[in-house]
Amino acid sequence: MSATGRLGLFAFACLLLIPIVWQLVLAMPPFGAHPLPYADLINAAAPAERHVTNMVSAVNFDYRGIDTLGEETMLVCAVTGATVLLRGQRGEQLEAHPGQVENRPIPHRSEAMLLVGRLAAPLTVLFGAYVALHGMTTPGGGFQGGVIIASGLLLLFLAEDYRGWRRLMRSWLFDGLEGLGVALYALGGLAALPLGLPFLTNILPYGQPRNVFSGGLMIIENLAVALAVCGGFVVLLIEFLEETRVMSDGEQE
């Protein structure tokens, strides 16, 4: 279909849909002033039942933990798909040189970049670990912490250049971390089955409220998510950066 044809069809669809959507907007419950029964239930139950203070983590890792298992599986599928598409076509090389676009020389690594990168990367990784560890008490958790750790490791790329970074980031490690994370999450859920309890039952001691190690099984599920998210995102970073290297003979450009 031509561009004008597509646009015409879109305008026609908008003409039909906008009155319906407007009716929907008018029929929505009043913003900020409607009852939230599920929220009230969780906010009342989780601090007393699970001894945690972060309700979002309580939902993610306990009350709706099986959703997170599905979500972890989706993450692995998406990362595996991207890896198969990229690494499967190209292969892997640790010692290759970065590629170069014609007439655009690669600038020399500046010492300021080296210093800032080497300082910022470990601090960012540490901050990510802090966010992931305190998932049960204060805002944070495995999802946010895992992404922050992965971006901290990407900062090393700015400091070390392509070759140095690629030597540090071994894909077997991060492939393994991602798989381990999802397996740990599933095993944490399965642990209750031999005791005759339903999947993902929280069987560990809950600990003290406002303590980092509160929440029982949620600590393990939180760790599993942190490993899976960090591993998954670093695998994606490795694959996309390997696309920029010089291809050796026999590899598809």
């Binding site: 599920y38 929220a39 979002v56 990229l86």
Partner: protein, 114 residues
């Protein structure tokens, strides 16, 4: 004011759809898809909002303080992470498309000739 969040949701969704339909580049199209997805974040967070309530974290406030809905926040949290991974998958597809067909313009990508 009461209608503003829902209007923002509809507007983000429409703006993303318009971008996808008129897009001249697959990478731009993937960006527009992310815009459509962000409409769902606004919708979920707006649905869980409550006037005068704080975050659903009872570290400094005792349990029982009015708090917004933690369920939709957990949904948005996982949605964002999944969105990032799916965007990476789509970009990997776009990269392969460019290697094989030499173009990312939807109009230049016709069905394969047999």
């Amino acid at each position: 004011m009461n209608l503003l969040p829902w209007i923002v949701v509809a507007w983000l969704m429409l703006a993303g759809l318009y971008g996808m339909i008129t897009s001249g580049n697959i990478v731009h199209l993937i960006g527009c898809l992310s815009t459509v997805q962000s409409a769902t974040y606004v919708l979920l967070l707006a649905a869980g909002y409550r006037h005068g309530a704080g975050a659903p974290i009872f570290y400094t406030h005792p349990p029982g303080t009015p708090a917004v809905d933690p369920v939709v926040q957990a949904l948005v949290l996982t949605d964002i992470v999944i969105g990032g991974a799916v965007t990476a998958l789509l970009l990997a597809l776009a990269l392969q498309l460019h290697k094989r067909r030499g173009s990312l313009k939807p109009d230049e990508l016709r069905a394969l000739h047999r």
